[in-house]
Symmetry: C2
Subunit: 222 residues, 2 copies
């Protein structure tokens, strides 16, 4: 039932639905109406019905959504059952944090190897993942399918490593470098982690709150 | 000219506008029409005019936007000139990466101190930031205004530390713990870094591309 082109906004909401449904499941909720789901997520019920209608019919009139069933549908749409293969390039602080703490498996991704250039980390294992020298990168592409690479190298080599990965045939790059990569979307999917976008949104809300408090204080002082 | 309530979607687009305008400035572009800006960002020109109309009138009919001027307006709306004070709690891999590599100043935030419990890091300096014992947290609130805390502690203490921070009067938490914090939005602004949302969206686009390639291959084989 999947339609040809679903808007990016809808796709970006799917992980939020997934988190909410996991929360509902954990709280023992079996079914939920679009109205109640919307209330809990700050969306309208018609928005929710419209989002899901992009992929088929998941709810039942007058019954609402089966939480477990809807969760399974969304997980499948997100490819969580596809067991994507992942390598990680750049085992600095962020790279190490992702290897040690991020549960790739939970989201349908399987981390198979990591790469760096520093002699003190090459040849070691972190949480069961072997760190190879970057010069050995081609081996993994010869012996495995590599769907995605986590890019967590220093800024100044980000584009060069990204180019290598694309030339080796990686399909997607999860980019932690804060560098806009010079690769075309026809050759590779790039998903950027923009810490700064998140911080700037926080700055907006913080400014708004500080101004509101100052205004309230000024009114009280009168 | 700022209006009372601007939708979250508009606010989330502001950092993207900022990045695009920085890119245009770096490329020597002085002015740009809403149509061209939209084309480069995958938005319609009417969407762009509508977004900016939430905050006033930035463009001129038939002239377009002055890149430097619009950039300054957006920076101001995002509070980038407010010099917010920041502390960071939890100097593990992620915390250390943020201290060493993230340019808080660039976005109007000023990191003043960091906290941890491990004897091997407490008392040391990382990139000029002193790491204090978490038991000394109250001192910073007595001597400074603390607008925001970066929360990068282990999951199992995330809620306890968040509660401490709120009780001390922090106004916002930038949450890297992947834990939904049990704090109310009336008492504190929480901005979550959801690595998983980003990865799941990547998984969607990757699935779509793999399916498209498989379909194309199947057609060619016929």
């Amino acid at each position: 039932m999947k339609q040809a082109k679903v808007s990016n906004n809808v796709i970006r909401r799917l992980p939020r639905y997934l988190r909410k449904l996991d929360e509902l499941k954990a709280a023992g909720v079996d079914r939920i109406s679009s109205g109640e789901l919307g209330r809990q997520m700050g969306l309208t019920s018609s928005q929710i019905r419209q989002d899901f209608s992009c992929f088929g019919e998941f709810g039942q009139q007058g019954y609402g959504y089966n939480v477990t069933g809807l969760r399974a549908e969304i997980a499948s749409i997100l490819g969580m059952n596809r067991d994507f293969s992942v390598i990680l390039v750049g085992v600095g602080n962020i790279g190490r944090a992702m290897i040690e703490n991020f549960c790739f498996e939970q989201y349908g991704f399987h981390l198979i190897a990591a790469y760096d250039v520093r002699p003190e980390v090459v040849g070691t294992d972190i949480s069961g993942i072997r760190i190879h020298d970057i010069s050995e990168l081609h081996h993994v592409f010869e012996t495995s399918k590599v769907d995605m690479a986590v890019l967590s190298v220093p800024k100044h080599i980000a584009n060069q490593v990204a180019r290598d990965l694309v030339d080796h045939g990686v399909k997607a790059i999860w980019n932690f470098t804060n560098v806009e990569l010079n690769v075309s979307e026809n050759e590779v999917i790039v998903e950027n982690i923009h810490f700064s976008d998140s911080l700037l949104a926080l700055g907006y809300y913080l400014s708004e709150r500080i101004d509101a408090e100052a205004n309230a204080a000024a009114k009280n002082a009168k």
